[in-house]
């Protein structure tokens, strides 16, 4: 590489990095800066004093935040495990060659391509307490037994989880499918010659080889699920009884509704740190292995 080349590469990088710095980098810095200050937009008289880690300390003591954290963890744990399971099944299915495979693949992709605003409205309609399809499927015309899914704390969170699983299982399926496709057919053929049944073939060939892909899917999904916002914002805005008040929604309410900019930023920074730690674990466990494989 000549010095001229090096200059050229740096020059090529500049526009992208500039846009990123302006619209993401600087805002992130500002958000982190705010999280160390007390900034209440409705009360400019109080100025914006530096408060050190007070906002984070407050966050640890805030029972609402703890509750939100718990809900978010439940949301992340259930959605990711179901999405991986369903994603794996779909991926195994699509990996077969059969007529109409393309059409099936397209069907599976559709939920993922639908705007979250639309799918959230759709699930509100399906979960309706008076004329929702889900009640009809379970209880038929006996409307007296219909469950008001979004009106009860336990079921409201479940409804949110179901909506998320529906929307993003296909994404998990795609990532897993990618792992499946790199497994050479010869392995299966050899196994079959040796007389291995389909279950054994799955356990001894497929499973070990798609584990990295599963982990990738798991981490992509965990990172996204931790930051869930749109879905809850449209479907329930947090209620009833804070049952769907996921961390990002709580942060939004603190910042944009109540105007606690510092405290709200602290919530976001905390979510970021959690996600970052998860991402580092992800890179440690699989990244190294994959990078070696590539090199």
């Amino acid at each position: 590489m000549t010095p001229g080349d090096k200059k050229l590469y740096l020059f090529l990088l500049v526009p992208a990095i500039l846009v990123l710095l302006l619209f993401v980098g600087a805002p992130i810095c500002q958000s982190i800066f705010l999280s160390f200050h007390r900034d209440i937009i409705a009360l400019p008289q109080l100025k914006t004093p530096f408060v050190g880690l007070d906002n984070f300390g407050e966050l640890l003591r805030d029972p609402v935040a703890r509750h939100s954290f718990l809900i978010t963890v439940i949301f992340v744990a259930t959605t990711t495990s179901f999405e991986l399971l369903i994603g794996l099944l779909i991926a195994l299915l699509i990996n077969h060659r059969f007529p109409g495979r393309g059409a099936l693949r397209a069907c599976v992709l559709i939920p993922w391509a639908i705007p979250t605003v639309v799918s959230a409205q759709m699930w509100r309609f399906l979960f309706n307490d008076a004329y929702g399809m889900i009640n009809y499927v379970i209880f038929g015309v006996e409307s007296a037994r219909y469950i008001p899914w979004l009106a009860m704390p336990g079921t409201a969170l479940s409804a949110l989880i179901i909506a998320d699983i529906w929307k993003t299982s296909s994404f998990a399926a795609l990532l897993i499918l990618a792992g499946l496709q790199v497994i050479p057919d010869e392995l299966y053929r050899a196994a079959r010659v040796d007389g291995a049944g389909s279950w054994r073939r799955f356990w001894h060939i497929t499973w070990p080889l798609i584990r990295p892909a599963l982990l990738v899917a798991l981490l992509f999904r965990t990172i996204d699920a931790f930051r869930v916002f749109d879905l809850a914002f449209v479907m329930t805005p947090g209620g009833p009884a804070d049952a769907t008040n996921v961390l990002q929604l709580y942060g939004y309410k603190k910042m944009f509704v109540e105007g606690w900019m510092g405290y709200g930023s602290a919530i976001s920074v905390s979510v970021f740190l959690i996600v970052l730690v998860l991402a580092i674990i992800y890179l440690r466990t699989i990244g190294r292995h994959l990078m070696e494989a590539r090199a």
Partner: protein
Amino acid sequence: MRTSIKSRIILILGLFYFMTGVVFAGEPTDIVFLTWKTSQPKVWANLIEEFQRENPGIRVKLQVAPHSSTQYHAIVTQRLKNKDASVDVFFMDVIWPPEFANAGWLLDLTPRFKEQQRAKFLPGPIAANTYRGKIYGVPCYLAAGLFYYRSDLLRKYGFEPPRTWDEMLSQGYEILKGENDPALSIYSAQFKQYEGLVCDMMEFIWSNGGTVIDPKANRSTLAEPPAVDAVSFVRDRIIGKASPRGALNYEEPESLELFIQGKAVFHRNWPYAWSIANNPKRSRIAGKTGVGTLPAFPGHAPASALGGWQFGINRWSRHYDEAWRFVQFMTSHQSQRTLALKAGLAPTRRSVYQDLEVRKKMPHLKAFLPAFEKARPRPLSPVYQMISQELQRFFSRAIAGRKSNIPALAGVASKKIQKLLELGAMVQR
């Protein structure tokens, strides 16, 4: 040579004159009006057009945000706190003026909106727009919690509209027994965790002689017996009994839907519901409804929460005068009359209630007037949004759990609200 210089000067002057003339006549001032998406965009558009016809020098540009008060609030505050001069006039919920005025976001209208002008409006909305002796907004239309009922069913069973909540329940159960319709429920109201819940629950508390905040002492009274008892009543007797449990997810549209489908005997809503409930194209119970004041607990007076929307002028606007002319026009007798007749909105000017056509076409408005005069504001505080979030959390937790420990929850919420009140008081000193 000389003449040509002279003529040139004249020409230039003439051109200059011509150009400034163009500037003055052809380039009207734009003012931006930020509001939410209405259900009758035509009515509003026509009013704005009429204003522009009367004021050829001013052009109004409309910007729209979601109708949800909370989401709209987020957008307005985002602009105001950043001293955004690109908005001149905006629509304000009745709970915002103290917050906005304290933050210095609103133009002080005291010199323009004179005392004798204010006297022509109903007192509730004027009080809501007043902060520390100065007025910051002009009320456009108002609302108050009203009690709708099925007049046909009440007549059939020989009932007068209920005066107490218990009476409502006993009448309701009798009607339910007689009608034997599993889809019918007694009461439909708004119990979702959102701003509307605060209104509905405060009405229960007020009608039990309680309060949420004692404004004189700046003290939270949420954990005191009248409030706790009223909240317990809602949990034990209303949710899942008189109202379907689904009401815990109802805002105004869903609860109104239940009523106009003929699936509820009684219904709490704002004035706008009257014309929809009586519109045969949308309602199955058109002509079979009555409206009045909400019930109360025995020995106490009924109460309804004050709602409604006002115009505020952005402190950072560069067009105070044009903006003020627009606000004056939109809140004039004539405009309020149009909004009442065409959009069913309740006027804030007394004179509109006396208007012949309004009285003829909307006789119910006159009947609402007592409720409007007595409507009670939600806490007037610069930190109202924070208080409201705590109240929503408390009310929703209290009524959504079948076995919630209401006194304990009220204690926690009350302490938090007390802290917020002190925070609000700190800046007012």
